[in-house]
């Protein structure tokens, strides 16, 4: 075999290994999560764990109910979605369909910049600006609430939603738009009757991926949602999320204790939630191509 072919062969295999490694690591991580998390089932029933309303992990005996944590995560995510989805889609429509080239460039750069801000910085800014604002506007005892978390996380979800939704709008065949305009539809009618429905699956995928980003976010929510593990009744209350719980408590948990296994079980719950979100996003994206 000539030297070139040998070189080619090795490079090909190296790339193959790199590709396989990423899958291999995911599998390893999942096995580890399962191994550590399922050990909890020896001491507590899954029903009590998922639906228990009290989270006192370091008491004797520990009370490990994660319902308030699940609801806290969902509440913050829902709030963030309500804020970021309409704004994000509107922004994508503007960039893809309406904005003149110059504004488009500026907007796209701005959104990329927004995506580049580290979450701890957003959390810190939220803590000193947003939290007092929320407290004063709603006359709350404290501004460390689910709402503050939702607003800050909406900023984080927006870049994902905008850029993927924008791609989806671009990939609508040009003939659709031309056809609609030729039939006498106005620009706006074309956008919301033709472009948006045609790009719907891509936009849904954008929303799902944005939500996926939000539910896994840790640092910012830990800094501004107050982390009180009580059952949430309103968005103006402090909540404790799944991610913040793991981050705050992993350092303390004695390795091999019930608390330690419980945190891994929380990790499994989180993994399952984001897995569902990502798979459904993938399904939507896939449907688009057919």
């Amino acid at each position: 075999m000539p030297a070139r072919k040998i070189k080619e062969f090795f490079i090909e295999k190296l790339i193959l290994i790199c590709g396989l490694l990423s899958i291999f690591f995911v599998v390893l991580i999942f096995i580890f999560l399962l191994k550590e998390g399922l050990a909890l089932l020896k001491t507590i029933r899954p029903f009590d764990f998922m639906l228990g309303k009290k989270w006192y992990p370091i008491s004797e005996p520990p009370q490990l109910g994660i319902l308030p944590l699940i609801l806290g995560s969902l509440l913050v995510t829902l709030g963030a979605a309500l804020i970021s989805v309409p704004i994000g889609i509107a922004c994508a429509v503007y960039i893809a369909e309406i904005a003149p080239l110059k504004i488009k460039e500026v907007l796209k750069a701005g959104i990329e910049l927004l995506a580049a801000i580290p979450s701890v910085v957003l959390g810190f800014i939220g803590m000193v600006t947003l939290v007092p604002l929320v407290k004063n506007i709603f006359h709350l005892p404290t501004g460390l609430t689910a709402l503050s978390g939702s607003i800050m996380l909406a900023f984080m979800a927006m870049p994902t939603i905008v850029s993927i939704a924008e791609d989806a709008l671009y990939s609508v065949p040009k003939s659709y738009k031309e056809g609609a305009l030729a039939l006498g539809a106005t620009h706006w009618q074309t956008i919301y009757r033709v472009m948006l429905p045609a790009a719907a699956s891509g936009i849904l995928a954008a929303v799902m991926l944005g939500i996926g980003r939000v539910i896994g976010e840790t640092m910012a929510v830990m800094m501004i949602t107050g982390n009180a593990a009580l059952m949430p009744h309103s968005i103006l209350q402090p909540v404790r999320t799944l991610t913040a719980t793991i981050a705050a408590e992993m350092g303390e948990a004695v390795v091999g204790s019930e608390h330690y296994f419980a945190l891994f079980a929380v990790g499994i719950v989180l993994f399952v939630i984001s897995f569902i979100i990502n798979v459904s996003a993938d399904l939507f994206l896939h449907r688009k191509r057919i």
Binding site: I17, L21, M127, T142, Q237, E249, E252, A253
Partner: protein
């Protein structure tokens, strides 16, 4: 091929912390957030005179113990005693935790300076933090809902406050922080929230008190005197919520670690304790 890559990777991953801890001129100190500033001050002064390098990291007392047990630090700082569970785990890993008392700390209960309340009994404090007392007017303040601030569960301060104030050292007590207590991840976060929120109450080591917060005078019961958290009151043992601060090493300190520990307990070291608003153990 895969196997080789894996071997190299895992070697790097697993040996790295071991090397870090055994490095000849390097002392890793980890643990209690309460003690971070103090240990940092010690480390800086110590490094002025010595060639050795001391790295100080916070994270909470529990974090310190897990690091000591896993061999990733030489000295664990702790604002609580080591738990039996942790000792058992350490023995399993061949680590023998050795306790050294290096300073005392008064645990200050703080409110916003605008809050008219300036003294409380331990019973009232327990009532407030377990949400049996929900409104400031029940303890002589304005008509406002009390906002409870607590440290996270990885904090030695959290554990100490629960055991000594909420449960009053009764091992059978089942008292817990109210579920709606806000769990903040650092003493500074509590200080900031108290400074900006006139209905908030929080607790932390007295080193964090500033003019933006007001320290509550605390009494053991209604008949006792109300005492403020000052260095004298902790030294003469009249302030009811004070606690020792510890270092833990693997066995009796030796070599470099011994040199650093001796420095902390020396006159210079104990003066630094005073300067960082803690209370020295030796005069």
């Amino acid at each position: 091929m895969l196997r080789v890559i894996f071997f190299v990777l895992s070697l790097g991953l697993f040996l790295n912390p071991v090397f870090a801890a055994q490095n000849k001129n390097n002392i890793q100190v980890k643990g209690s957030d309460t003690m971070v500033n103090l240990a940092q001050a010690w480390a800086e002064k110590y490094m002025e005179k010595n060639q050795d390098f001391v790295a100080v990291t916070g994270g909470g007392s529990g974090t310190g113990f897990s690091s000591l047990i896993s061999g990733t630090c030489d000295i664990a700082m702790s604002s609580r005693n080591i738990k039996d569970k942790e000792i058992a785990l350490a023995k399993q890993k061949g680590i023998d935790p050795f306790e050294i008392k290096v300073a005392l700390d008064g645990l200050a209960v703080v409110v916003n300076p605008k809050n008219p309340v300036d003294k409380l009994t331990i019973d009232q404090l327990a009532g407030i933090f377990t949400a049996k007392i929900k409104n400031w007017k029940e303890v002589g303040g304005a008509d406002a809902k009390i906002v409870i601030l607590s440290r996270e569960v990885n904090s030695g301060t959290h554990v100490y406050f629960k055991e000594h104030v909420l449960r009053k050292l009764d091992p059978n007590s089942k008292e817990e922080f109210a579920p709606d207590a806000l769990m903040l991840s650092s003493s500074q976060a509590i200080a900031d929230e108290v400074a900006g929120n006139s209905a908030a109450i929080g607790y932390y080591g007295m080193g964090y008190i500033s003019p933006k917060q007001k320290a509550i005078a605390v009494a053991k019961d209604e008949k006792s005197e109300y005492v403020t958290p000052t260095i004298e009151n902790v030294l003469n043992d009249t302030y009811p919520i004070s606690r020792p601060l510890f270092l833990y090493t693997n066995g009796q300190p030796q070599g470099l670690v011994k040199k650093f520990v001796d420095f902390m307990l020396s006159k210079v070291g104990q003066d630094i304790v005073l300067k960082t608003d803690f209370v020295p153990v030796k005069n």
